[in-house]
Amino acid sequence: MTVSEGPEAKPLLSIRGLTKFFGSFAACDSIDLDIGHGEIHALLGENGAGKSTLVKMLFGVLEPSAGSISWDGAPVTIASPGEARQRGIGMVFQHFSLFEALTVAENIALSLDARIPLAKIAEETATVSKAYGLPLDPSAHVADLSVGERQRIEIVRALLQNPKLIILDEPTSVLTPQEAERLFETLMRLKAEGRSVLYISHRLEEVRRICDRATVLRHGKVTGACDPKRETPASLARMMVGTEVAEVKREGLADTGEVLVEMKDVSVAPRTPFSVSLKDVSLKVRAGEVLAIAGVAGNGQSELFDALSGEYPIADEGRIRLRGRAVGRLGINGRRLVGAGFVPEERHGHAAVPGLPLSDNLLLARSRSDKKAFLSGGFLSVLRRDAIQSAARRICSVMDVRKSGEDPAAGSLSGGNLQKFIVGRELDRQPSVLVINQPTWGVDAGAASRIRQALIDLAKAGSAVIVISQDLDEIFEIATTIAVISDGKLSAPYPAGDLSMEQIGLLMGGIHESHFGGEARYAS
């Protein structure tokens, strides 16, 4: 590994006092940062810490409110992404901007000079992708490619412009562990060539592994600059969060109760051209069990959630059972009456209506199950506002939901606080079955640990919990049993202790149990 040059040795990029206001809110507050030549520099921070705002300013997408940027020693203003590319800054966004109906080469051509012939682009794409260990077929259609391959297109697209600095925004959040491994090799190769990388992540382990230096952001300010290799994950987390994050306690979890949730060979045809079909999904969850369903996004997680929650009931009544009752054709409120609670992935516009106050959002999930408490006036169904509001207050205090005002609009809460409310809304009913999709997606570490603890406590109290998650750290933290979903197929469940990261990675890639022997435990 080359020794990175210190910031004194004329850094490639140097920013001083960079500030960005949105209205009166400072998303970035006088940030200083230096990136040397051939350095992999990590930008760490929780959701909403200002990482994305900062790189958008570097890439010319946003105009800084104050501060200066110097590039190769000379002060510059970067007014547009085109200008950033010209200066040698490439960027790989978290959300890809690719046209699914076009081929790899065509997608790359779109971002280059229109006069370059397509054949030449295809040829260069093949060369670059080979040179950096990013195998890509230029004539393949994007629609047929995996997420990892799509990310490679974005990286190759950035590399073709021969950048000196490549910015990667949360690159591993969509990859399997094996795909991530490959990406790290590519980054090392870039570094060896003297290119610099700005690596944005909130995953501490990988930052410690591949980055030379790290800058930590919190609430838009730099709270630390360090060599991540000399830090522990705990010390990095402290810089990110500002306080010690409570560790999740899971003693006393015992998945030995009766079966509360059962799915038997559930197949669901895709509802839209963009959704995944479920193929013979079977699962059993017992009282006291936390079943985590791992998988790369878009492999049937939301379809599985829809089938379990009854938002889209299935055709066959007997194939889904909750507490022994056949509920396949029952809608979501019918299943809630059986004792189940549900937390969907998307907070805004699915789990909650952002424009409505918290009390209304409480009623959203419980208008039927808590009819006696929340409604009066017989068939007129007049809302009992006082009862609803006091229940909302109770949830907010139990889950420590921080809010401005008595009953603010759900949309005005931060992601973590709204998620605590949404989870609390279900826990408040003491459901005997809880199905929760991506419980801590985009949630700050403090809220995430609180939510995870609440899920474990619910299982300890004798409920069955199904957690659908992309976050492997989370899964290992809370699951008693793990299954993996890939292309709409669910693997057999494994006891959490028996499964390594690597095996999960293989399962996520769609390679099933036959490949690693008879370890599978069929919970029957």
């Binding site: 958008k56 997408v61 105009e63 203003t77 979501i332 998307e346 209506v353 959203l364 039927r368 809302l383």
Partner: protein, 363 residues
Amino acid sequence: MRLELQKRAQVSTLFSILSPLLALALTLVVGGIMFWALGKSPTGALYTFFVEPLLDVWSLHELVIKAAPLILIAVGLAICYRSNNWNIGAEGQFTIGAITGSILPVLYPEWHSPMILPLMLVMGMIGGALYAGIPAFLKIRCNTNEILTSLMLVYIAQLFLDWLVRGPWRDPQGYNFPQTKSFQVEAVLPEVLDSGRAHMGIVFTLLAAVLLWFMMRFMLKGFQVSVLGQSARAGRFAGFSAKNMVWFSMLLSGALAGLAGISEVSGSIGHLQPTISPGYGFTAIIVAFLGRLNPLGIVASGFVLALTYLGGEAAQLSIGISDKVSRVFQGLILFFVLSCDTLIHYRIRLIFNPSAATAEAKN
């Protein structure tokens, strides 16, 4: 240099109050310029248009007569729009309601019974509701766009009425005029006060407005309307049926438009004729938005828009300009209200450095 809209962190209370007043002021200014361009004295014309109609008892009655159908239709539309169903065809539902409500007095002119009026009103509501049921059915079954289907059905309804009063329903003793027999006394909506023509229609209207206000504010049904209107996905999560909401809101707004239709025919015209509405069903869309889709706000905005109808008539009579000018004022008011409402959620900023500003709007 350019203008840019920047989202406010919080809804501005100041502009929530100021916006309608600002819109009214801008409407008056632009209206004044229009009168000036037409060669009339702006102040005099505006006075004739907006103030004179309020000075006589008889014209206040006319104001009520015009406001009642506007408000009645608009409160129904407000429920529709709140639930994200876009019924643009209230004019057609108004017309069909007038026709179905008139079946009894036209076909049984000799039937003298106090039952006839309630039956007419109910039949008018059913007619309007069924007619609004067509776009609702098409939306649910074929996923058609209700904006287009409900609008197209307006013209079918109007031509159907035209055919009826020129053909099968024409009064044989009517000197070949295209209109039905005048309704018998029992089939005419009684007046509310002795002082003028205003009829019971306004009572139904205010009743409907208060009931719907109560529903939206205090009942689970109203909650369903706002949830499904803001996010169909969240509505599904709550276990509310979007399909049932299409039926509910379309049938409700159709029934109220139908009630407005039969009230207008029975209360202020007294027979069917080719044209029974100066565009109430379309103007009610403006009324609904001007009243911020709130039933009580709509009562106020209904009177403002009714005034533009009266003002148009007055302008035609006393200063000799076309009553199309009332359409111009309705358009101006809607335009300025919608644009001024932007200020509630956004602030306007001047940008002097054009290159860097583009991306900011995205965030």
